[in-house]
Amino acid sequence: MKGERRTGPNQRRAQESEAPAIRTFGLTKSYGERRGVFDLDLEVRCGEIFGFLGPNGAGKTVTIRLLLDLIRPQSGRAEIFGLDSRRDAVAIHRLVGYLPGELALEPRLTGRQILTYLGNLRGGVEWFIVERLADRLELNLEQRFGEYSRGNKQKVGLVQAFMHRPRLLVLDEPTSGLDPLHQETVMELVREARDDAGSTVFFSSHILSEVQSLCERVGFIREGRLVELAPVDDLPGMNTYTVEAELGEALEPDAISSIKGVSNVTVAGRSVTCVVRGDMALLIQALAAHQPRRLVSREPSLSEVFLHLYGATADSDTGAGNSQ
């Protein structure tokens, strides 16, 4: 691959700058009423993993494409490390590793050929890093892109996003199509990027559990508008779980409804369903006395968090929580 490109004045300015990793000022791109991004003011600090959440069509991808100058705002502006997203697009692209939500690459090229081309296009990529990433993700580089499974295509996208150790990683639904084992590897890679290289990560997703386990702060976007920006633990409804239990013997509802944080208790025969907020220890102790045979706790879905945020019904298709 080609040698490392020289650091330009813009890049030096960005490296020396103490500006936030991302800052937008009234960023607006409209594709009609409620479609696009409207008057978005957002700030992502250097070195943090920032979760960007929202249902399908909320404007997550539009925001990312505006930040990367792939599309142009109708009003407002964005800065990456203090650089203007439009004027300094090339300098910004040197600092950014981007994984698009829908990855389209030349189907006739192998993974190795694609990464060689992209590495040459970027410059300064060390091939051993590419191979190390491919190994960790268990990606065979000798297969044609068109013949890869969906998960393997996503891995090619992940390798190219991480391969130059970028200062800012912009990942649009990075675990999409991956099996749980590789989803965990991606989470590790993200954490390592932050801890070892000091990278900032802009993590767009609609899966709450991965955002919860990775991110320090999260922004919620709906219908193109930022509706919440808060530390992940402070989000209403975030520490609330729905618990379902099958017991060996019947239980009186009062036995658990009196426990602190437990609500909405429903008992049907030997099946119990309730909602618990905060510590589960007391609830588990109470259930343990009734010979539990099955216990499932479910984190809130994106819809339910929205429900807490707005007190109104959110779209039903906004993603489901994972069972644990």
């Binding site: 792939l70 692209h93 389209a104 296009l121 970027r122 996208g157």
Partner: protein
């Protein structure tokens, strides 16, 4: 419209079918109006034309096929008004058939369709029926065109029956190439490769059949081309219909369809049929196209642009070189035939060509066709680049540290190089053959004519990329329309007796006849200026707009 696969397939091709059908019908009408009514308005002029095309001007048969009663309206309509149609309609069918089969697989649509409760055989038949409907739609418009051409040319409406038979003959030969394209789509991995392969067979077959009319050494081998079977029936000219030729065309089409269907039912979805290649072939390093393991020509946007066009460069360049070789080789025979014709000089003046010399003949025909072929190649390159953006492939590359305008210019330059290589192959073939045949040429002019060959297709590339830089979805339609208009404008300009400056609206007129007249530096400069202007406009537009996702 989506109630069946047949209708959905037809729907996907309906715009193309209407566009091709309308364009071919318009060509028939305009040609008959300009040729029959304006250029050959008298009985005497028409009889002279009939003598010329059988004698000294026989080389025009390479384009329009065998002339039959061209001094009568119906004969003229069949020869001149519909002469290019079997080739052009075959091209449409090759593109449509590969689009609905391999193209659908490339877009990932086939997997979903295959999960429907339909057998693969039925799916194939329904898809083929959809393509046939598109062919019927195009043919219906062509039929209307032939009927309208009568009154437009000052003649009565041609009889419905014979015009219909003529269109049926046309549809059968086009359908055969559609069926062949369906076979190619089962054997080859990409739509582009399949369409290019069938396109090359189509060009070869068309030229083979028509070259046999003027080159006596090939005459006995014309039957190898499907167009020979087409030429057996001339219902419009003299009412002759060869039932066996029509039946053979239909049988070959059905056999090809059956073969394609069989391959479709037996292969993996998303993959070509696995061929029983011998082991040494499988072991051989793959350099062709992009499937090899090598990482050469992947150094950046320009290199990748060249690498991705290698297959097309080889196909178009070698095809053009083959045509240049064949035509240059038969030039002396054409010239001798022309010398025997007493009305030759007058005919040459009518066509604004010097047909009494090797240089004039080559300029009149070879250097009319070569720029057109290279322009068609250029048009395919522009549709490829527009398709890349529409499929979302620019999303990632433009998030890399490359300036948008540099990226645009590098990709355009790669297309220029691809054209230049193909043009160089054709030009070398012409120059070497001409040298070996000891043709009487002004070599300086021959070299300049060869060098200038790349300019018209470069204009097409610059224009197409400019449209792609502005509105990628419009590229195919606008470039195809502009190219067709430019070519027909060039063909019809002498008949329409247009003033000089107006004729320059056609890029082919701008290219002119450098082999005969020498280089017209003003026109060459205009062509270069057009290239620069389109490049600048395209780069500006591409730098300013949103990238498609």
């Amino acid at each position: 419209m989506f109630r069946s696969i047949t209708l959905a397939t037809f729907r996907s091709q309906r715009r193309a079918a209407v566009a091709w059908g309308a364009a071919l019908a318009a060509f028939t009408i305009i040609t008959m109006w300009s040729n029959w009514r304006s250029e050959y308005p008298t009985e005497e002029a028409r009889q002279r034309l009939a003598e010329q095309v059988e004698g000294g001007l026989s080389f025009v048969q390479v384009l329009f096929g065998e002339p039959e009663r061209v001094d009568e309206f119906r004969g003229h309509l069949e020869w001149r008004g519909l002469g290019l149609h079997p080739f052009l309609l075959g091209l449409f069918m090759a593109m449509a058939a590969t689009a609905v089969s391999r193209g659908a697989e490339e877009r990932g649509e086939l997997d979903l369709v295959l999960t429907a409760p339909r057998s693969r055989a039925r799916l194939f038949i329904e898809q083929a029926a959809g393509v046939a409907l598109a062919l019927l739609a195009a043919c219906a418009l062509i039929w209307l065109g032939t009927l309208v051409s009568g009154p437009v040319a000052g003649e009565p409406v041609p009889p419905l029956g014979v015009t219909l038979l003529s269109v049926v003959n046309l549809a059968l030969v086009a359908a055969l190439f559609g069926a062949m394209a369906l076979i190619a789509a089962q054997l080859l991995r990409s739509r582009r490769t399949a369409a290019t392969t069938v396109g090359a067979i189509l060009v070869g077959s068309f030229l083979w059949s028509n070259m046999g009319l003027v080159a006596t050494s090939l005459e006995g081998w014309r039957w190898l081309s499907p167009f020979y079977l087409y030429s057996r029936s001339t219902p419009l000219a003299d009412g002759q219909v060869s039932a066996w030729a029509l039946a053979l065309l239909a049988a070959m089409t059905l056999a090809s369809l059956a073969g394609a269907g069989l391959l479709f039912t037996r292969r993996d979805a998303g993959a070509p049929i696995s061929m029983p290649w011998p082991a040494f072939v499988k072991r051989a390093p793959r350099w062709w196209g992009d499937g090899g393991g090598g990482t050469w020509l992947l150094g950046g946007s320009f290199q990748w642009g060249v690498r991705s066009a290698l297959g097309q460069i080889a196909a178009w360049g070698l095809g053009a070189a083959l045509f240049a070789t064949l035509f240059t080789a038969v030039t002396p025979a054409i010239r001798r035939g022309f010398e025997d014709l007493p009305t030759g000089r007058e005919a040459a003046e009518r066509f604004e060509f010097d047909l009494t010399s090797d240089a004039g003949i080559i300029s009149a025909l070879l250097f009319l066709v070569l720029p057109l072929v290279l322009c068609l190649f250029a048009a395919t390159l522009t549709t490829v680049v527009a398709g890349q953006e529409q499929s979302g492939r620019l999303e990632l590359e433009l998030a890399y540290p490359v300036r948008r305008r540099s990226y645009y210019l590098l990709r355009t330059t790669a297309a220029f190089v691809a054209i230049a290589v193909a043009a160089a192959l054709a030009a070398t073939a012409f120059l070497v053959t001409a040298f070996l045949m000891d043709l009487h040429l002004n070599w300086e002019r021959a070299i300049f004519a060869s060098l200038l060959l790349a300019l018209p297709p470069w204009i097409v590339v610059a224009f197409g990329y400019a449209i792609a830089g502005w509105r990628p979805r419009l590229v195919t339609g606008v470039v195809a329309g502009a190219l067709a208009a430019s070519f027909f404008f060039d063909l019809l300009a002498p008949a329409l007796d247009l003033p000089g400056p107006l004729r320059k609206l056609s890029i082919f007129q701008l290219y002119g006849q450098p082999l005969v007249d020498g280089v017209r530096w003003v026109d060459a400069t205009v062509m270069l200026a057009l290239i620069v202007a389109f490049l600048g406009a395209g780069a500006l537009a591409f730098g300013r707009r949103d990238i498609l996702k």
